[in-house]
């Protein structure tokens, strides 16, 4: 019988910070998103503050879809900064370099606990525990948890289930129920106990049920995970989707989703960010667009793909007192490419089509799409041999560039049109901790 484990870091970003400053676990800690905009992670103490102070308040819509008016999570920092300060909260800017490295370590350690692993996000991975008995699986999960804590100082929760959906749900319970001590197994419960627990979980907490889907389900009187588990799967398929039907089966302990994701490569790559300060000048906007297109292209090459279309979007901030503007332009071409130089030429072409001077731009981004893996593209029968030679040259150049940037740090080698050192518009990270694990100059110091 299949048995899956979902390993998930608790408040991952905040925990990464605490791992390097262990005494912070006695204080509320929060981490902010890009440009120090919104709150994206909070440790337990900060979450307690949140529950205590914001339950009755209305903070409004927040900066992300996931934001709720009665919680500080995903709300703009400025709305809650005063209260956090009053309660001695430690606030960090996102230190992506650190989180990436710790994530990589965590995934590798957990991979050692199973024959198969599939990484789901920066702090989550599924493990195949199918070769273990239920009791052994639980012991194994505890050992895993203890190992990650010892090696990295990161707390993780492990959910065990007969399907990936069940394992995800079990993980929520592992975090929710203090008696679980971070490991919860939904796979070995009696039907009655299983049902009782699922009644305590909102339908929106199920993997693959988004906010909108949850609202539609409420209309059909499906409110809890229990309700969905016992919904008629054929009706679910008719009213909603095959996907949700599968979720129902997975909730009933039948593994329907393949262990490895069928789409190992991303079909769309986005690089987009708000600026640290507004941009009014086309030259600077071109730099920003080049920067994003190069970042996206590097990701594209890392997953060994090429693409045949991209779009550029730019927009002003949502001012009430200044004129606003937003626009986007797509470009489609024939010959698949992963060359930063080629792609930025297209991106500049797109930018020219939508650029309007006289606005304060706050954000720009690039989306690559129509992505295909290397080697699947159709060769152009009529293309002259010079083209192939040029392509080989471009491949070599990009490989070299990626290798240098991997070795000597991001952006060691970049296109001149990205403005090189002159890019004060880049992300604001005023509260960032040192990049302890990736920069020689920023190592943790001891005395």
């Amino acid at each position: 019988m299949p048995l899956y484990a979902l390993v998930d870091g608790n408040s991952f970003y905040a925990s990464c910070q605490i791992a390097f400053q262990p005494w912070l676990k006695h204080r509320p800690v929060v981490v902010l998103s890009n440009n120090d905009g919104c709150i994206v992670a909070a440790n337990d103490l900060a979450k307690q503050l949140d529950r205590h102070y914001f339950k009755q308040r209305n903070l409004g819509a927040g900066g992300y879809h996931a934001a709720m008016p009665n919680s500080m999570m995903f709300q703009p920092y400025y709305k809650v900064a005063g209260l956090l300060k009053k309660h001695d909260t430690v606030v960090f800017s996102s230190n992506y370099e650190l989180y990436e490295d710790m994530s990589h370590r965590m995934h590798r350690i957990t991979a050692g606990f199973a024959e198969r692993q599939t990484i789901y996000s920066i702090d989550e991975s599924f493990l195949d525990f199918g070769n273990l008995t239920l009791e052994a699986a639980e012991r194994h999960a505890r050992k895993l948890r203890q190992t990650v804590d010892q090696y990295l100082g990161l707390p993780v929760a492990v959910g065990l289930g007969r399907s990936k959906t069940e394992a995800k749900l079990a993980n929520r319970l592992a975090k929710k129920l203090s008696y679980s001590n971070g490991v919860f197994n939904l796979g070995n419960l009696s039907e009655k106990a299983h049902d009782a627990l699922l009644k305590t979980l909102e339908v929106g907490e199920i993997w693959g049920v988004g906010k909108r889907m949850a609202n539609r389900l409420h209309e059909q009187n499906i409110h809890t995970a229990y309700d969905l588990k016992h919904a008629d799967s054929k009706t679910v398929r008719r009213l909603y989707s095959v996907h949700l039907e599968r979720t129902v089966q997975e909730l009933n302990g039948q593994a329907c989703l393949p262990f490895y994701d069928a789409h190992p490569y991303k079909r769309q790559i986005i690089s987009s960010r708000s600026f640290g300060r507004n941009i009014t000048d086309l030259q600077e906007m071109r730099q920003a667009v080049t920067y994003h297109v190069c970042k996206a292209a590097e990701k594209l090459r890392r997953q060994q793909c090429r693409c045949t279309s991209l779009s550029v979007h730019i927009r002003t901030a949502d001012h009430s007192f200044k004129p606003t503007y937003r626009n986007q332009q797509s470009i489609v071409w024939i010959r698949p490419s992963d060359d930063s130089i080629v792609l930025s030429r297209y991106a500049h072409q797109a930018l020219r089509a939508i650029w309007q001077s006289g606005f304060d731009y706050a954000k720009a981004g690039v989306v690559l799409s129509d992505i295909e893996p290397w080697g699947t593209e159709q060769f152009d029968l009529f293309s002259p041999p010079e083209d192939l030679a040029a392509e080989q040259k471009s491949t070599n150049l990009m490989q070299l560039m990626d290798r240098i940037n991997r070795h000597n740090g991001q952006n060691s080698l970049q296109l001149g049109s990205s403005g090189l050192l002159n890019n004060s518009w880049k992300m604001r990270r005023n509260l960032m901790s040192p990049r302890y694990t990736t920069q020689w100059g920023e190592l943790l110091t001891v005395n």
Binding site: W23, G112, E115, T118, I119, Q150, L152, T445, V446, N447
Partner: protein, 196 residues
């Protein structure tokens, strides 16, 4: 296999002796290859699983490849032209400092020393410490301890149920850990790197 029939009746190669090529559990000819010692177990385990056709999913499997480049000799045994090097048979993987200094890559962190409280143990201001968190702290080990909002490197002393953090410099006092103090051993120091 050579075609020479050995003239001597004693020993040497005999035609048709031994297992037939391709008759093993892989069903094809096999080949001896050189792999980094640290990876041998993983590669063996992978072969045992026999999932060769599964290459498509290979990136998802646990492959603890060393991030740092492992340098392998360019030539295994073939010399294309010219005088064969007498050292050819002795070519091995180059020495890699990571291999010497890092036992558990995921659990190892580098820290920088500030101050001279561990001078007499050879740990100097500005040195880089290799800290392996997978090693269990024990009496006599040099450890990184988190103590009252500070990280400190000291020798751990556990005697008669009492714990001490000992500096290795007479200018600094030993630190007694009381039961109520908030002290966590962050990791165990396994090497110190001094650069001159």
């Amino acid at each position: 296999m050579t075609e020479n029939i050995n003239k001597s009746a004693h020993g040497g190669v005999r035609r048709g002796a031994g297992r037939k090529s391709g008759s093993g559990r892989f069903g094809e000819k096999t080949k001896v290859i050189r792999v980094p010692e640290s990876q041998a177990e993983t590669i063996q385990a992978w072969i045992k699983q026999g999932k060769f056709a599964d290459i498509g999913n290979f990136s998802d499997l646990f492959v603890p490849a060393n991030e740092a480049t492992i340098r392998l000799p360019l030539y295994a045994s073939k010399v294309i032209a010219g005088f064969p090097s007498p050292a050819e048979d002795y070519v091995e993987a180059r020495l890699d400092l990571n291999e010497k200094l890092i036992r558990n890559q995921e659990a190892t962190f580098l820290l920088k020393v500030q101050g001279d409280s561990m001078r007499d143990a050879g740990i100097l201001d500005g040195d880089i410490l290799v800290v392996d968190r997978s090693v269990a702290p024990a009496d006599g080990k040099i450890v990184i301890a988190a103590l009252d909002g500070d990280l400190t490197v000291k020798r751990l002393r556990i005697r008669d149920g009492k714990t001490w953090l000992l500096p290795e410099n007479p200018d600094y006092p030993p630190i007694a850990i009381r039961e109520e103090s908030d002290m966590v051993i962050w990791g165990v120091v396994t090497a110190s790197i001094s650069q001159y």
